[in-house]
């Protein structure tokens, strides 16, 4: 209930002038905590709508619903009225110049769209006036005309802003301004001020106590001019005889001191904080830049190192290959390839890859050779030789030697295998020939391991051959012996004795004493039988 503690008086006058219709509008309201004055000047020629009244009503409705002195909200009320006017433009564009003053009985805020004005007087003396949104005001701002010229300047009604403007509507909103006891506010439309000089208005305010007196004086001054054409004019005077006393504590010297200190300290703190913030940001940016540069340098170094490593590893690999240290070379080529990949040197990548593969083939081939897989070893050496044709690092003669050795060893094994097969078929001569040939070849290629084995196999073949011959002879002896037996039975003792003797010679050759004794017995028996036969034929003998 601030209103009860203060005294505000308002009076106004609105007239059509020499025109037949008055398009001006004035309204005000004094609520418990806030008051509002609106002065509007309809600029269009619409016969259906009173645009000034329409705009003022919308602002008033919004204000009555939510009274405020907040600049943001008041702007919203203005913008809402502007939208309403735009939408209501049917035949002609509705245009309104409007000024609004709002107070909480201790401070005021004023909003201006167009060239309706607020004059403020303190202690009976002119204090300020609201600035128009017109070309004339722009000329005044740029000092092309003087303050005294603006009221009658031909561009005074050429507005750059008004409620209902099609595009880019931007009203002026003042800061909050403290009222003092005895302040006078005068609101007026262009129809009034365009016929007056500001000094005349200022003089009229001096030493007046009631708003009605001011209104009457001003109208009298206007009409005294007896202009042929007088536009619609509206004048409203507000006398703030006593404003609301804000909390006195805030007005003590202590509070003033605090305020002064705050005014000094807060900006300093803010500057300090902003400085710190800016400094931090600058440092962050610097560090980021530094990190970027370092990263780039690191990358460059890494590339350089990688290149060096690649060269070093490849060279070492080549050297190791020349020395025949293939497993070590393999590792070097792998490192060289990885380094080449890092520096994206595709030629080097490919070269190292090839060398790696060749070295791997040689190592594999050596492995196969050592594990006696001579055929696989031979194939691997062959592949390695073909691949290594373009790489001088590899000793082709050495590779050829290895290849030939593998081939020879393989041949030894193959011939030996043939001998083995012949032996199994009891073709002792063939087997011996194979083993001898394999042995000769093994000796010529220094296949020591195979040499001993082949010698042993050859001896085995001889033994087996002798055994076979003995068996054959024994069989022959037995055959002769059994033939002798058959002849004995046929009483052909001479022939039988002859056959027994032959058998006896075979057994003697084979040194089988039992069989010799047995045959001797048979020979004796046959002889006796033969003798008996002769006696029988020749009994006298």
């Amino acid at each position: 209930m601030r209103k009860q503690s203060c005294e505000f008086q308002t009076d106004f006058l609105t007239e059509a002038g020499t025109l037949n219709v008055n398009h001006d509008y004035f309204a005000f309201v004094e609520l418990d905590d806030f008051a509002c004055w609106v002065i509007a000047d309809g600029l269009d020629s619409d016969e259906e709508n009173e645009s000034a009244e329409m705009a003022a009503h919308h602002i008033f409705e919004a204000f009555m619903e939510k009274p405020t002195i907040s600049r943001g909200r008041l702007k919203n009320y203005f913008m809402a009225a502007h939208r309403v006017l735009k939408e209501a433009s049917r035949n002609v564009r509705l245009k309104v110049s409007l000024t609004m003053v709002v107070t909480d009985y201790s401070k005021i805020v004023w909003l201006v769209a167009g060239n309706s004005r607020l004059y403020h007087f303190r202690k009976g003396i002119f204090n300020f006036r609201s600035k128009d949104q017109s070309i004339a005001q722009m000329l005044l701002n740029s000092r092309k005309i003087t303050e005294a010229q603006i009221n009658s300047h031909e561009e005074r009604n050429n507005l750059i802003n008004y409620i209902g403007k099609l595009n880019m509507f931007k009203p002026y909103i003042s800061r909050k301004y403290d009222l003092n006891d005895g302040d006078v506010m005068l609101l007026c439309t262009a129809g009034f001020w365009e016929n007056m000089f500001d000094y005349e208005i200022n003089n009229a305010v001096h030493n007046l106590n009631e708003p009605i007196e001011l209104i009457d004086n001003l109208e009298e001054m206007l009409l005294e001019r007896q202009n042929e054409v007088v536009n619609n004019y509206t004048i409203a005077a507000v006398f703030a005889k006593k404003v609301f006393p804000e909390n006195k504590l805030f007005n003590t010297n202590f509070q003033e001191t605090i305020k002064k200190i705050a005014v000094v300290v807060i900006p300093m703190l803010l500057i300090g904080l902003i400085g710190m913030f800016v400094n931090r940001k600058i440092n962050e940016v610097k560090q980021r830049e530094l990190a970027k540069i370092q990263a780039i340098q690191k990358k460059k170094m890494a590339k350089l190192m990688a290149k060096k490593n690649e060269e070093k590893s490849e060279k070492k690999g080549d050297q190791l290959v020349a020395e025949g240290e293939f497993p070590a070379a393999l590792n070097e080529y792998k490192v060289a390839r990885e380094a080449a990949e890092l520096i994206k040197d595709t030629v080097k990548v490919e070269a190292n890859k090839q060398k790696y593969e060749i070295t791997k083939m040689i190592i594999d081939a050596d492995g196969y050779f050592n594990s006696k897989a001579y055929e696989r070893a031979m194939n691997s050496y062959l592949d390695a030789k073909v691949k290594a044709a373009n790489f001088p690092e590899y000793d082709k003669k050495e590779l050829l030697k290895k290849l030939a050795k593998s081939r020879d060893y393989l041949k030894v094994i193959e011939i030996s295998r043939e001998g083995e097969n012949a032996l199994n078929r009891k073709e002792f001569e063939t087997a011996r020939a194979c083993f001898r040939e394999a042995l000769r070849l093994a000796k010529s290629v220094y296949f020591e391991e195979m040499k001993a084995e082949l010698e042993s196999r050859l001896s085995d073949a001889d033994t087996k051959k002798d055994e076979q011959e003995k068996e054959d002879k024994l069989f022959h002896g037995k055959l002769l012996e059994s033939r002798g037996d058959e002849l004995c039975q046929q009483k052909r003792f001479d022939e039988a004795i002859s056959s027994y003797n032959k058998a006896k010679r075979v057994y003697e050759e084979l040194k089988i004493s039992d069989s010799i004794l047995n045959v001797n017995g048979k020979i004796k028996n046959a002889q006796e039988e033969k003798d008996k036969k002769i006696l029988w034929i020749f009994p006298n003998n």
């Binding site: 025109l19 037949n20 433009s89 049917r90 035949n91 002609v92 564009r93 031909e154 099609l166």
Partner: protein, 259 residues
């Protein structure tokens, strides 16, 4: 000599703005087209002239075309662009006498609106109730006042000689109080100061058949599209056609756009 020639050539190039022109016309529900118009371009600038004839049958057309032809031929002859006010007054008077002469005592006449764009400035004159409008930065501004009886009635009302109802309900309030024709040339409106045109500004010259049929908002909506003057003029006529008003008057429009 060469220097003078080059200077004059350069002056022409630098000072003469590019003006795009568009126009359109509609017969409406009338039997005859009584509106006449012309645009003319010479070394001094661009002339646009429009006349809305009256008097029935061929008399209206005769009056309007006489005025338009006179303006074009006089503008073609003029060699002194500095005194365009004199040009407007003299040519209007000459047109008036020609119309009276050709009319041979018959009650005929025509309105006149004429604009000249010279060195980025717009000059205009008007007699009667045809309109000159300026569309600048999205805003439509009426440049000329109409010479109709309503203006006199308003004055009478302010003087207290008649009541508001008498002013509003007067059936003759739209009657012309000044026109070029038999006993009618009483007043001519001429621009007090030339208007400096900005890039994209459009000058619209039209007869009452246009502004009585379309509202300011409808005109604005078409003009703000920023189409070429030719397309804009056609669009305006198309909109009038679509409205199909029962008493549609002859409608003519000229649009001049400064580029």
């Amino acid at each position: 000599m060469l220097k003078i020639f080059v200077n004059s050539f350069l002056k022409n190039i630098i000072q003469r703005p590019k003006i795009l022109i568009g126009h359109a016309q509609l017969l409406g529900k009338r039997k005859e087209q009584e509106d006449s118009f012309a645009t003319f371009n010479n070394e001094f600038g661009v002339l646009g002239v429009l006349a809305d004839g009256m008097g029935g049958y061929s008399n209206g057309k005769m009056a309007s075309s006489t005025v338009v032809n006179t303006f074009v031929s006089e503008f073609a002859k003029t060699r002194n662009p500095e005194s365009l006010e004199d040009f407007f007054i003299n040519t209007a008077n000459l047109s008036y006498s020609k119309v009276c002469e050709k009319g041979k005592g018959i009650k005929t006449g025509t309105t006149l609106v004429s604009v000249i764009i010279f060195e980025k400035n717009l000059y205009w004159t008007s007699v009667g109730d045809s309109a000159i409008l300026l569309f600048s930065k999205g805003e439509l501004i009426n440049l000329n006042k109409k010479h109709i009886f309503q203006a006199i009635l308003e004055k009478e009302y302010v003087m207290g000689n008649i009541t508001k109802e008498e002013m509003i309900n007067n059936p003759k309030k739209k009657r012309l109080t000044s026109y070029l024709g038999y006993d009618g040339f009483r007043d001519i409106d001429i621009c007090k100061k030339p208007i400096h045109l900005q890039h994209g500004d459009k000058v619209i010259v039209c007869s009452d058949g246009v502004y009585n049929s379309l509202t300011e908002i409808e005109l604005e909506a078409i003009l703000i599209k920023n189409n070429s003057p030719v397309k804009t003029a056609e669009e305006i006529m198309e909109m009038i056609k679509q409205k199909n008003l029962s008493d549609q008057d002859n409608a003519t429009i000229i649009i001049l756009e400064k580029r």
